[in-house]
Symmetry: C2
């Protein structure tokens, strides 16, 4: 490379802080591997042959590609590029897009494949470490993982608008247990929380129907099929087909967590997203529910 520019072996040696024989020998060996003369020495001047110049150009292009790769890595490390795979439980899909949208606009080159499943499915993915970030309400064992809370997940009781309890204030749990309840599958965080509350207070539901999604429950409640316990975030603001009950003696509240595995390398994009979330939670989500403890998570990831 340098020899082509300086047209002198000695000068090249000086510039590269090497001795002249070293450079001579390098060239010699290069010529042997190529099996073609690359330079010719005449009157104390180096003349680059056709083959030599072609190799020079080839090398320039090659280095160009490696430079491009370096640039690519820089972007990757800066979180401007890459992939951040997020797996979330069903309920989280009502809130996470509000963070993902702005983030994606800011970093258009970051791929954000989302996996949505019920708790069991996401848990399996977590065990296998298939994603960068997991969103749980009830975080799993944290042996190989760290979690950070970022949002309250208040559970509310919903009933058809025309239900007897709908207009009543100060409803109690006792009033509810005889109702028919529409619930997600066992193991879902919402259901687990509700059932542990019931159990600790000695109640048992007599009439439950299992439904596979929050929408199904919401619509079913709206059409009078029974009562439901769902995350507050699931409810669309202006739906009048159902209403929230004012239950005075129950406060079912959990939190959403971002969870990452500590025994896996976390992609730069994922780190970048968590950083973004830490700084922009309040702007993207209703401040009322934000519980920003991501600073702890992010610090522990450095």
């Amino acid at each position: 490379m340098c020899v082509v520019k300086t047209r002198s072996i000695s000068e090249t040696a000086r510039q590269l802080h090497l001795t002249q024989p070293t450079v001579s020998q390098q060239i010699k060996r290069l010529q042997e591997t190529v099996n073609e003369p690359l330079v010719m020495v005449n009157q104390q001047r180096i003349h680059v042959t056709e083959a030599g110049f072609a190799l020079f150009q080839t090398c320039q292009q090659v280095f160009g590609h490696f430079d491009d790769y370096q640039d690519y890595l820089a972007e990757l490390r800066g979180g401007e590029r890459g992939r951040c795979k997020i797996a979330m439980v069903n309920t989280a899909q009502y809130i996470l897009p509000k963070l993902l949208g702005p983030y994606s606009n800011l970093h258009p080159h970051v791929e954000l494949p989302l996996e949505i499943g019920n708790r069991a499915e996401v848990l399996a993915r977590f065990e296998r470490g298939e994603d960068d970030i997991y969103v749980f309400s009830h975080p799993p064992s944290l042996e190989h993982a760290k979690a950070g809370r970022f949002l309250q997940n208040p559970l509310v009781f919903i009933a058809p608008t025309n239900h007897a309890l709908a207009s009543q204030t100060q409803v109690t749990l006792q009033d509810l247990v005889s109702e028919r309840f529409l619930l997600r599958e066992p193991g879902s965080a919402t259901r687990m929380l509700f059932e542990s509350e019931l159990q600790s207070r000695g109640f048992v539901l007599s009439n439950t129907v299992q439904m596979a999604s929050n929408e199904a429950i919401r619509v079913a409640v709206g059409s009078g099929m029974g009562l439901g316990v769902v995350s507050r975030h699931v409810l669309p603001p202006h739906d009048t087909s159902f209403c929230m009950l004012d239950v005075k003696d129950v406060n079912l509240a959990s939190h959403w967590y971002f969870v990452v595995r500590t025994d896996r390398h976390l992609s730069h994009a994922a780190r970048s997203f968590l950083k973004f979330a830490q700084l922009n939670l309040e702007q993207c989500l209703n401040k009322q529910w934000v519980t920003n403890e991501l600073n702890l998570l992010n610090e522990s990831l450095n």
Copy 2:
């Protein structure tokens, strides 16, 4: 490379006839130099990361460039590409183009820079080894060079059409020495040959004029300025302003030689040209003068 394709370290090791730890370590070191994870191991499967795939692509392009270079070298070695620098004395420019034209048509990617000078200039170039092939009539010392004859170079005496000797047959050298002669510079092969002939027979020219080119001599002779000795090849076929003399007791004949240095690498294109010349002399030049001894030259160059 192979790991990306097989998605398995062990399989790669088998294909490359290496052991598995070797491949593992190679990847590890590659990741250390790049300072970025390139693959991730999960469930006994290798997952290539973004950075890893980008590097894979980069490498493919790089290898592509080297392949291109190999192709280029192949063409170079085949004589289809490259450069063949030829230096020739003035007189040769009347004959060499007849070979160069067809050759250039056959190998359009070969550059053919021509250097034309008087004998002293070409000799200097030869000493410095500035060209691939030199064309001499009177070849220089062959200590570091080899030469091959390819064409007769008959010298003829020319006179104005209306000159007294023009119509005479059986002219002798004695008849000529008192004439004014137009000659090239001392050292030119033509002049050297003529002068050595004169000297060996004890003649001295009394009246000479030096001219810098064969054209100048031809035109000057045509306009009656004196006589000339020039290569037969210099004379255009249908010029009636001068005529050749029928000198019976002088036969000035030399040959054209291709000369190459043996202490310099000869470009593939130059070898290719000499080979072409060997095979096509008779087709390109007047058979009458061809003396094809290039087979000897070419064989000694292998």
